[in-house]
Symmetry: C2
């Protein structure tokens, strides 16, 4: 069955630097009307950067909606027309000072499809070299390193709160496998 | 270092049924001012319901911000003051007609901490029995079942787009392990 919700009317609410908020009146499959509050967002890119000895570069920064510092993978918003891969390379270098030989695409995800259009693209960065951090004006964050297996345990123990970071850790772990997998196989 | 951003001024933009939008002027750690567009959201709960033979109940519904049908775990918004566990039990039953003997908490996640306060709580529901679906008025969705290992592969292949659903699948797989793990151990 087709569940498409046709827009009957759109009310413009706010057109900001980051989000564009509208309220649509939509026609539901049974012909009744409903209201959809939506925030359009340019989307972003997150990068999980893993060294050969499975060290992961994370950033901790203050996030105003939660009034708290949150541990996240390096990430940033897409500029208009920007390629997600270019954005990932740029944000990784700006925030951590790292350049990667290889960027493996870990897919896109919809952060909150009920009301928001934001899509986050994720990459696994490997073959890392240091080129020097250069944060944007007004950007304040700490760079911290963790062991991938430690982060995976933190994710399972509900100690990682940011959704894109959870997905990046869980996918990277799925792709890179167990640290002890060779030893286990040899037994 | 303390990176707290103090609110200097708050401008109210929109107070809807779902989101509350404001723009704060904040003072950064270096004393300069910046603007923070924020959407406050009541948060929600998602439930990954897995049968004893590793069948997972999913829903497919139209999501207006993407103008597309999206495959997700059953989920819903928190009512004011509602306990996340109660919300998860309610949404699972409404959308899929299932009741669970056991609800295991899979943690909370912040969907987009840069601009949004939405927190999603996730549960793994097991010990399932059918009691009959009863959708809200104006709610249209299809219930579909998948094998957990198939969903895990879909997640790694970037075929699952919804962030909470990705986290739920990846965590459930991490917790429930390999289908063949007993056989492998026996070898």
């Amino acid at each position: 069955m087709d569940y498409t919700e046709k827009t009957v009317e759109r009310k413009e609410i706010f057109n900001g630097r980051v989000i564009h908020v509208v309220v649509d009146t939509v026609e539901l499959p049974d012909g009744s009307l409903a209201s959809r509050e939506m925030a359009f967002h340019p989307g972003g890119v997150g990068v999980i950067a893993v060294t050969e000895d499975r060290k992961v570069y994370m950033v901790r920064q203050f996030r105003k909606p939660y009034e708290a510092e949150i541990l996240e993978v390096p990430a940033g918003k897409l500029e208009p027309g920007e390629d997600p891969l270019e954005c990932g390379i740029r944000e990784l270098e700006e925030e951590t000072g790292l350049r990667a030989e290889k960027m493996t695409y870990l897919g896109a995800s919809y952060v909150s499809p009920g009301f928001c259009s934001e899509t986050i693209h994720l990459y696994l960065a490997t073959g890392l070299s240091e080129v020097g951090q250069h944060l944007d004006d007004g950007e304040f964050l700490d760079v911290l390193t963790y062991d991938l297996d430690e982060l995976y345990q933190m994710a399972l123990n509900n100690e990682i709160m940011d959704a894109k970071t959870l997905i990046a850790i869980l996918k990277a772990k799925g792709i890179l496998g167990e640290q002890s997998s060779f030893a286990t196989t040899a037994l």
